[in-house]
């Protein structure tokens, strides 16, 4: 359907992961897209969905508003290992080159995602190795 990246400005890795979820929820609410399935490679984000994790204070209010929206939209959140989340990972890396607080939306997949998207659409597994 489409992809987005955003440079969120000063943020820790944790805050950036939460910002991504907030961005998605606010967009979904704006477009009134119901039955949203969010998948993140951060367990902290998944835990925040059922308030099992402590939130950074800067994002607390926005997050709580988002939780109200999620309940209204019937959204769920699940975890995937980062090996399976390569497309979103590539987009987040790409967002690093954007100017501060700007975002970009692609309705057609950019060239650097094509092979990754093809891989996932075929259902080919990625391997998570523990050494």
């Amino acid at each position: 359907m489409g992809g987005f990246t955003q440079n969120t400005g000063h943020a820790s890795a944790q805050e950036a992961e939460l910002c991504a979820a907030i961005f998605v929820i606010e967009k979904a609410a704006e477009l009134n897209r119901k039955e949203l399935w969010i998948e993140s490679d951060s367990l902290m984000v998944v835990r925040c969905f059922d308030s099992r994790s402590v939130l950074p204070w800067r994002l607390k209010t926005r997050w709580q508003n988002c939780m109200v929206l999620v309940r209204k939209l019937g959204g769920i959140c699940t975890h995937i290992h980062r090996e399976g989340n390569l497309v979103a990972d590539a987009l987040a890396q790409n967002g690093q080159s954007l100017a501060l607080s700007t975002s970009q939306w692609w309705s057609e997949p950019p060239h650097f995602l094509l092979s990754l998207l093809y891989h996932d659409s075929l259902g080919v597994p990625h391997y998570r190795t523990i050494r």
Binding site: G3, F4, E17, L36, D41, N85, A92, L113, R128
Partner: protein, 56 residues
């Protein structure tokens, strides 16, 4: 990884001292009518700027 799969296929016990285990991670498409979005955030730079990405 290809070698690992081959040894697994023929049930050859692998003796690599480094590889402890490998699991398959697969992206699953959503059921019809549901929208799936994969998200990720990253932090970078000396003052730790954040960037996010997601795919619908």
């Amino acid at each position: 990884m290809a070698e690992f799969k081959v040894t697994q296929f023929f049930n050859i016990p692998h003796r690599s001292s480094r590889l402890v285990s490998a699991t398959e991670v697969r992206w699953l498409p959503p059921a019809a009518g549901r929208i799936k979005v994969n998200i990720d955030g990253s932090s970078f730079g000396p003052v730790s700027s954040g960037a996010i990405g997601g795919v619908f």
